[in-house]
Symmetry: C2
Subunit: 154 residues, 2 copies
């Protein structure tokens, strides 16, 4: 095993319906009572895509499938507890009946255009997602320069 | 800190010049003497993009910048030592003079079209990269169904 210390991997999911995205009102700290994307820690022996599906199921009772990766966010200060990194999937709902459970106090469909505050770096993630939708799927990371347009003709 | 066990995060870089990509001949096990993408473990306190830049510098003496994320590969069996996950960046060379060092026995520019064997899941990653280049930057993960075209008009 590695004898070094590494960031702890997490996953988050963006689920869109019309002009809204699904967020969970957090039951626990950090960011208790704040809106966050559904997500959580990746377990050893589990792929990141399976972790994303499991976490969304645990919190929302929805069955989802990944369709793309928006980015990987790993700023050491994004989570006050420890250095985490998150793989953010764009996903679609394929089954289940929406119900807040586990770490989610409630579920809310929030206007994507209006989200300015959210737990962790999720407001930045959703700002990037708005870019992404108009930008042929360019990917994101914490320190990416947001003003630069990626030239895909390399 | 988390009391759970998680996959250990790593990073890899795809650097293309003409029809070739840069690979390192591994000096150590696992996959000793086999070609691999430049990359390595992410340290606590370091972003994945900085880890990618540092690892490429350590192995090749090249200064690089990320331009996109190809995907995140986290099959529990991709590394015989432990469960690792890797964030694969597409990057460009912005400085430095190429020189094999650290874990790299030698550096080789390899025809992208001809790579069938490589360390870890790097042959799959490079097959995905060939797709990616023709596919407007769709992202990849270990269990993604490779035959399905992603419909971006959702």
């Amino acid at each position: 095993m590695s004898s070094y210390r590494n960031p702890t991997p997490t996953v988050d999911a963006i689920l869109q319906k019309g002009s809204k995205v699904l967020m969970v009102r957090r039951k626990k700290d950090p960011f208790k009572d704040t809106l966050a994307l559904p997500g959580g820690f990746v377990n050893e022996g589990e792929t990141v895509e399976d972790a994303m599906k499991r976490e969304v199921m645990e919190e929302t009772a929805l069955e989802v499938e990944p369709i793309d990766i928006l980015g990987v966010y790993s700023d050491p200060h994004r989570d006050p507890r420890m250095h985490t990194m998150t793989v953010v999937f764009v996903a679609i709902i394929i089954g289940g009946k929406e119900k807040a459970q586990d770490d989610a106090a409630s579920l809310e469909w929030v206007e994507l255009a209006g989200i300015e505050k959210a737990a962790f770096d999720h407001a930045q993630i959703l700002a990037d997602y708005r870019q992404w939708k108009g930008n042929a799927g360019s990917t994101y990371w914490s320190t990416k320069r947001r003003s630069t347009q990626v030239d895909r003709n390399y």
